[in-house]
Each structure stands twice: as C-alpha cells, then as structure tokens.
C-alpha cells in the first residue's frame, strides 16, 4: 500500500503543480479538506490515475466519501470489489 500511496502522491503533485504534495501526502490526507482539489484538477487527476494504474474508474459511483482520504480513494479506484 505504501508504494501505491507514494504513486498517488506523485500524481497529485503533478496535477496540482505543487511539488511539496509528493512528500506531504499520506494515506490519511483528505483530498478535499487538506489538499483542496477542485473539480477541474479532479478530473485531470482521475484520468491520470486510470493511465498510471491501468484501471477503469467508475466516475458515476465516485462520491465525496471516497475522497476523505487517499487510502479510501485507493480502495475505490484500485480495488472497488474489495470495499
């Protein structure tokens, strides 16, 4: 999981153009409240996640609860059946 979080953090840093996020982001970081990702950045991030991890995200099922932590988002995006 640590490696996945690291890759997610790197993607967030790239999409938001805030290099510090690559090392500040943890499994518990809230994408909305801590990072403050907005709608425009969010869609770019989601598409980048699909490419990086070779997964298909179910956009219509994505809910704010999945953004409460990087860990929760990883479960939603990478392991939807395991939730």
């Amino acid at each position: 999981m640590d490696e996945v979080i690291t890759r997610m953090a790197a993607l967030l840093a790239r999409v938001l153009e805030e290099p510090s996020l690559a090392h500040e982001t943890t499994a518990d970081t809230n994408l909305l409240m801590d990072i403050g990702i907005d709608s425009l950045h969010m869609i770019t991030f989601l598409l980048a996640v699909e490419e990086e991890f070779d997964v298909e995200i179910d956009f219509e099922s994505l809910d704010a609860v999945h953004l409460e932590s990087v860990k929760a988002f990883c479960h939603f995006a990478l392991d939807p059946d395991g939730q």
């Binding site: 938001l16 153009e17 805030e18 510090s20 996020l21 500040e24 970081t29 909305l32 409240m33 801590d34 990072i35 403050g36 990702i37 907005d38 709608s39 425009l40 969010m42 869609i43 989601l46 598409l47 699909e50 490419e51 298909e56 995200i57 956009f59 219509e60 994505l62 809910d63 704010a64 953004l67």
Partner: protein, 425 residues
C-alpha cells in the same frame, strides 16, 4: 432617472442544460456550492449609487465599506429563502417579502433562467426579457457552432451525437482535440483528449449513459494553437439594435478563467477590425432574429498562424469581461486601466477576506477611486478548503499591474494561518 434592481445566480448553464444529455466524465461536486452562490456579489460592479443588488448571501460588511469607498455603492440585500434555492427561485416564490419596495424599478439580470420572468413580475420590475427557452437555445455551443459553420467562419467544431462518432472524430483528428459539452462553462464541460487511453475512458463513460437512454451531444474541436484569447461584448436591444461595448483580453489557465483586461494597443489594432465588427454584427443579428435581447459576450481566439477566430462561443448573458469593462470605465475616469483577476487559493476556515482587507488597508493598497490599487469584489467566494478571490487591479496602462497583483498573492499567503499544505497555486 429610474433606479435599477440587479440580481441573478451565475450557474445559468446548469438551468439551461437539458437533463437527458450525456455528460463528460466529471468529478463529484467538491468544496460545496457556497462559493458559486456568492458569485452574484460581482454584479455590484455594474451598479450605480442608489441601485439595489439582491444576492444569495449577505456581503461581508467590511467589503461593502471598501466597495463604497471606491464608488461602488449600491444597497446590497440578501434575499431570504432556502439556501439551496437560487435567488430567482426565492424571488419567484416569495416575491418582495422582507425586501425593499422596488415596484416600477428597472431590472438588470445576470441571465434569463426559467424563473427569472416570474421573479421580475413578483417584484413589479420593468424589463424587456427574452424567454428562457430562447436564451437557453442561443447559449448552446451547438447554436453558435451552427452560426460559425453557416457563415463559413474559421474555428468550427463538428457535432458528435453518438459515442462511436466521438471516437471516430477524435481518432481522425490531427493532434489533440477538445470535447465540449453544449452547456459547459469556465472549463467544466470541456475536456482535452490527449491519449487513446483517455479517449477510451470518455467513450466508455458516454456508452454507459447512452445505454440508459441519454442523448450524446458533444462538439469535437481541434485544440487550437492559441496566441491570445479575447472577448467581444455587445448589447442586443429591442428592435434588433446591436450596441458595441468593447473588447477584452482573456487570461485562461487551460480552460479555467483567470482574468480579463485591456488589449494592448497593438492587439487592439489587429483584432478590432472592420471584418471582426462585421462578424460580431452578424452574431447580434442572429441573436435578435431568435428573439434574444440583452448582454452578449463572444469569446474569440487569435491563433499563432495569424487566424482570428472571431466566434469561438457565444454567451448570451452578463460575463466577467463585461464586469471588467464596467470597472474599466470607472478606472478610465481617473486615468487608469482595470484588470479583473480570479485567483484560486487554499483557504483556511475563518475570516479570510477580513484578514486580507485589513492587510490591504494597512499596506495602503486598496483602491479608493482615485489612484492605483486593488479591490476585492466578492466576499463569499473565498471558501475553504480552496476558494477563489475575484479582485480588480487599477493601475496605469502598462505600469504597475503585475506588482499590485503579486502583492495580493503575497498578502493572501501572509494572512493565511498555517495549514497542512501548501503554497499558492
């Protein structure tokens, strides 16, 4: 002279968009809707003293004082009603309960939504408004694209009405393309397709919705090699009279709005040509023929190969560029120019605007109506965790604007309490 009542929520495109249209992939609403609800406070810039501005939420008292000191001094009143209802819905339902009596006053609305006419009637205002149906039709990018195609103008897109068409048009294009929702606005509803993987995602998403009966209506447009974005502003009056209001430089980051300002003299000379004015007159005539009256912003592009795309999109409503023109009139009266800026910034809970206003005041940077300075324009858009600061920069043409804007950024950072992350974007 009759005073005017100004009002209107800024999410008009959501009201105009047919419910059965398939959507591009999007994220869930983040950060809540309060910031968007409070955009209507920007209407203050078009108000004369003695006018009434009706808003969704109260404007911060400190900002009311600061605006008044700069000569922007309407009476500002929040409309009572449910938080999730638009100002138009509240007025259409409750009328003038709890509001000043304004029967017989003129109305100036941000846009015409389905409830706008009822709101105007309930308040007893005087206005010549187009129907919401006409306004919705002419605000669709499909309408403006048909106009561009019909007139043989550069910059036309192709309409795709099935996921398969979307795939074919994107795959056949030379280079990246942009997919546009007919009612997308400010970057939401526009997607640059940069890879086959991304195209697969979009098509998969559209196919799922089409399978449930949704209509696909997307404009497929080449990603233009843009040298400069600009907007042209007109007013379509009764009797198909089209009044020219001016042109603005537009600053975008990807598709997100970042600001408007004056064109340089060289840019103005190259873009404000008889040919461009003729095209814009055609747009005005076409809008009038549809039955539209009111303000219009026509977005355009100047490409690196020299092509001028006079009509990229038509926004038949008030617009940021129009607000900038209105502010520029105030600036011009004291020999200055005005730039309208939108800055996205991390926001920590608390009185973010109050801290900023104090800091600007202490640094003697607030615009007071006579010499260079800056002026925050809305209080409710600076919402946690990530808000938007709309502000005007008043400076001498060609001097001092960048420094003033940078100082706003510095003060935003300096007045923000320490938080988990992060530097300004």
């Amino acid at each position: 002279m009759t005073a005017t009542v100004h009002f209107g929520s800024f999410d008009a495109e959501a009201a105009w968009r047919p419910a059965d249209l398939a959507r591009l992939p999007a994220s869930p609403a983040v950060g809540g809707n309060r910031g968007n609800r409070c955009l209507d406070q920007l209407l203050a810039v078009g108000c004369a003293p003695g006018d009434l501005l009706l808003t969704a939420e109260p404007m911060d008292d400190g900002l009311v004082e600061v605006l008044a000191a700069a000569g922007i001094a309407p009476r500002i009143v929040a409309v009572p009603g449910p938080e999730d209802a638009t100002v138009e819905e509240r007025l259409a339902t409750l009328g003038d309960v709890g509001l000043p009596q304004v029967r017989g006053w003129a109305a100036a609305v941000y846009s015409v939504r389905p409830e706008t006419s009822a709101a105007v009637q309930r308040l007893g205002l005087v206005a010549t408004l187009p129907t919401a149906e006409v306004t919705a039709r002419v605000n669709s990018k499909v309408w403006s694209n048909d106009l561009v195609r019909g007139a043989g103008l550069p910059g036309a897109a192709v309409l795709a009405s099935t996921p398969r068409q979307v795939r074919r048009l994107v795959e056949d294009a030379d280079g990246d393309v942009v997919l546009k929702d007919p009612y997308g606005v400010a970057g939401l509803g526009a997607l640059r397709v940069t890879s086959p993987r991304m195209l697969d995602t979009v098509v998969r998403h559209l196919e799922r919705q089409a399978g449930r009966g949704a209509r696909v209506e997307l404009l497929v447009q080449p990603l233009f090699d843009e040298a400069l974005s600009f907007s042209t502003h007109i007013e379509v009056g009764p009797g198909a009279i089209v009044r020219w209001r001016g042109m603005r430089h537009v600053d975008n980051a990807e598709f997100a709005y970042r600001g408007s300002g004056p064109l340089s003299p060289e840019q103005h000379a190259s873009l404000d040509t008889p040919a461009h004015r003729e095209v814009i007159a055609q747009v005005g005539a076409a809008l009038a023929a549809e039955g539209y009256t009111g303000p219009v912003c026509v977005d355009g592009l100047w490409l690196r190969d020299g092509t001028v795309v006079s009509v990229l999109e038509v926004n038949a409503r008030r617009s940021m560029g129009l607000f900038n023109l209105q502010l520029d009139q105030r600036a011009g009266a004291v020999g200055l120019s005005c730039w309208l800026r939108c800055r996205t910034t991390p926001v920590v809970a608390g009185d973010a605007l109050g801290r900023l206003l104090s800091a600007l005041d202490e640094a003697d940077l607030l615009f007071r109506g006579d010499r260079p300075g800056v002026l925050p324009l809305a209080s409710g858009t600076l919402t946690p965790p990530r808000g938007r600061l709309f502000f005007a920069v008043f400076a001498s043409p060609g001097a001092g604007r960048a420094a003033l804007e940078a100082k706003v950024g510095d003060l935003l950072s300096a007045t923000r309490p320490i938080r988990v992350s992060s530097p300004d974007s």
